[in-house]
């Protein structure tokens, strides 16, 4: 299809563990990808982005990995904290049009 998908609607992790949220995209011509975090009652907030000429990009406690061969994107969160509980969306820049296509979202639940 023409949409970005996430493998799991819900992910539950223990506080302090590492989290991995996965995303499969369908358009091999997409050249730019973004991860957003949406907390309850708020709009999505930018976490990290990556361009298609890169395989990996690191931020503070977050890492995004891009595998263009299998069209897969992942977000890794180190030492997950209760404040990381949210819905996470991946988005792709569809064929470099400037139009962002979003996935359905994964809800991350952090258990104390």
């Amino acid at each position: 299809g023409e949409s970005v998908g996430l493998h799991l609607p819900t992910l539950s992790v223990q506080e302090g563990d590492n989290s991995i949220i996965n995303c499969a995209y369908s358009n091999s011509a997409s050249d730019y990808f973004i991860w957003y975090k949406q907390e309850s009652g708020k709009g999505p907030q930018f976490i990290i982005d990556i361009r298609s000429n890169m395989d990996k990009r690191q931020g503070q406690r977050v890492t995004v990995l891009l595998n263009k061969t299998v069209k897969h994107l992942s977000l890794q969160i180190a030492a997950t904290q209760p404040g990381d509980s949210a819905v996470y969306f991946c988005a792709e820049n569809w064929s470099n049009t400037g139009k962002l296509i979003f996935g359905q979202g994964t809800t991350l639940q952090v258990k104390p």
Partner: protein, 115 residues
């Protein structure tokens, strides 16, 4: 701190009413977007605008129109609201970097219920 402000957080309207959702950004961004968010469907693009008085259809424009008379303001209009337009509406803006999509800054959302 950059900001996208959606004037109404919660609205309740009746079927057939005309609805205006207002969005203002203070970042001098060229691009503005309207998405709707529904459970299990993620964010779907309704309309977007790259400049004043310009508009482009997104993936689900039916039943909606938009207005961009000033750079900072992008309005979403439901000419005749229907129950299937009950949803969370998200406005976003971005700087036009000239190289495809740039990071979107979102507002907090407007939850519309149509009875």
């Amino acid at each position: 701190d950059v900001k996208v402000t959606q004037s109404s957080r919660y609205l309740v309207k009746r079927t057939g009413e005309k609805v205006f959702l207002e969005c203002v950004q203070d970042m001098d961004h060229e691009n503005m977007f309207w998405y709707r968010q529904d459970p299990g469907l993620g964010l779907r693009l309704i309309y977007f605008s790259y400049d004043v008085k310009m508009k482009e259809k997104g993936d689900i424009p039916e039943g909606y129109s938009v207005s961009r008379e000033k750079k900072e303001r992008f309005s979403l209009i439901l000419e005749s609201a229907s129950t299937n337009q009950t949803s969370m509406y998200l406005c976003a803006s971005s700087f036009d970097g000239g190289s495809g999509a740039n990071v979107l800054t979102f507002g907090a959302g407007s939850r519309l219920t149509v009875l």
